[in-house]
Symmetry: C2
Subunit: 198 residues, 2 copies
DNA sequence: TTGCGTACACTCACTAGTCAGTATACTTTG
DNA sequence: CAAAGTATACTGACTAGTGAGTGTACGCAA
């Protein structure tokens, strides 16, 4: 029974997402993805030109939902900016405690594909991180920080550092340490913005 | 003419190091390493039990030299602690500008081997990062910071975050941003230690 | 009845690891 | 001290399996 092409495609991406995130890009074969999606490799190649295309689709599918989740953590908290930042990193630590957690899919993909500079998945990863940084910057600007862009960048560095350290040491407390640093950096900056906008 | 075993072993590790760092663990075959070392795969398997052993040897060989380099950056600077930190991250940015730079070998290996929890290479990676953190903590304690361990951890988070962001965006300026954050965190802490030690 | 979506069976290159055997150097023994 | 034996360091050819990607045929829907 031929299904709607978009539905099948989504099923393939969902299978790829589970496997690529869980085991890594190179560790997962196209056959594995096809089997998990419940169809043959030939069908997969009908919907995707190559494995590289599939990898790019995997990260593209993770972009928006990830940002919604992280910003959801932030916006769910009623309180000061530092309260919100604390929540973000606390939630990150919570994720890190889950047995199926395998770090940041974007960073791990960047690490694996480092030798193929123009790869669409790498562009997707870079764009994703920049979007997240911009979201932070927007929140920081609204809260009146003097240099919201700089602070957003610093928080992103702590964010990615926390991912890396949690992965390296399998210890979620690194996320909390990162949260403390983020709070401290932002606290030192508060309320200066009123003088700014000339 | 049979050579000294240690010499050959070192040549294999050197070849593995170049290839694993340059292309990634899974992207490099045992044949590739053997060819680069100028011997046959069978000889490589005479010196190493498995590819996993070779991976572990690769990271083990990078541990000490890496720490010496980073701490060398720090100790080479005559000046305040913040001057030293600025230098560390500036040197990091300089590395990132090199065309052969491929991020942090330890972090990339951790990302690739994430599905094999007990892997000796992962332990080596974790131990390496902890050692570097301890080196920072030692310097911070000597400089009189109130909580050198916490600050060292925060600096390591920025350090690994800078690696990740530089790799993601191919932009060394992230290391400089991380350096600014590190300096700010440490500056807020200075000289409190005199009151501490009860 | 066209063409979209699917499956089976296949290619060919590559992968970790092994088998059996060899040349050289060191050690033991008559 | 010379011959025989043994450990060391090494090789080429191989196995058994996996990798991405493809040629072709078939069924179903509009």
């Amino acid at each position: 029974m031929p299904k709607n092409a978009a539905v099948t495609r989504d099923r393939i991406v969902a299978a790829a997402s589970k496997l690529f995130y869980g085991h890594g890009i190179r560790a997962v074969s196209v056959d594995d993805v096809a089997a998990r999606a419940g169809l043959t490799k030939r069908t997969l190649y009908y919907h995707f030109r190559s494995k590289d295309d599939l990898i790019a689709a995997y990260l593209a599918a993770r972009d928006e939902p990830t940002i919604v989740i992280v910003m959801g953590w932030m916006d769910a908290v009623q309180g000061t900016l530092t309260d919100k930042l604390e929540a973000v990193f606390a939630q990150m630590a919570r994720l890190g405690r889950h047995p199926k957690w395998r770090g940041c899919g974007f960073l791990r993909t960047a690490a694996e594909l480092v030798t193929t500079p123009g790869h669409p998945a790498l562009k997707a990863g870079s764009a994703h991180k920049k979007k997240l940084e911009a979201e932070f910057a927007g929140r920081f600007a609204q809260a009146g920080l003097a240099d919201p862009d700089m602070r957003a960048r610093q928080v992103m560095l702590l964010f990615d550092g926390a991912f890396s350290a949690m992965l390296t040491h399998r210890d979620p407390s690194y996320a909390e340490a990162a949260g403390q640093a983020a709070m401290e950096l932002v606290r030192g900056e508060k309320v200066k913005a009123v003088k700014r906008r000339a």
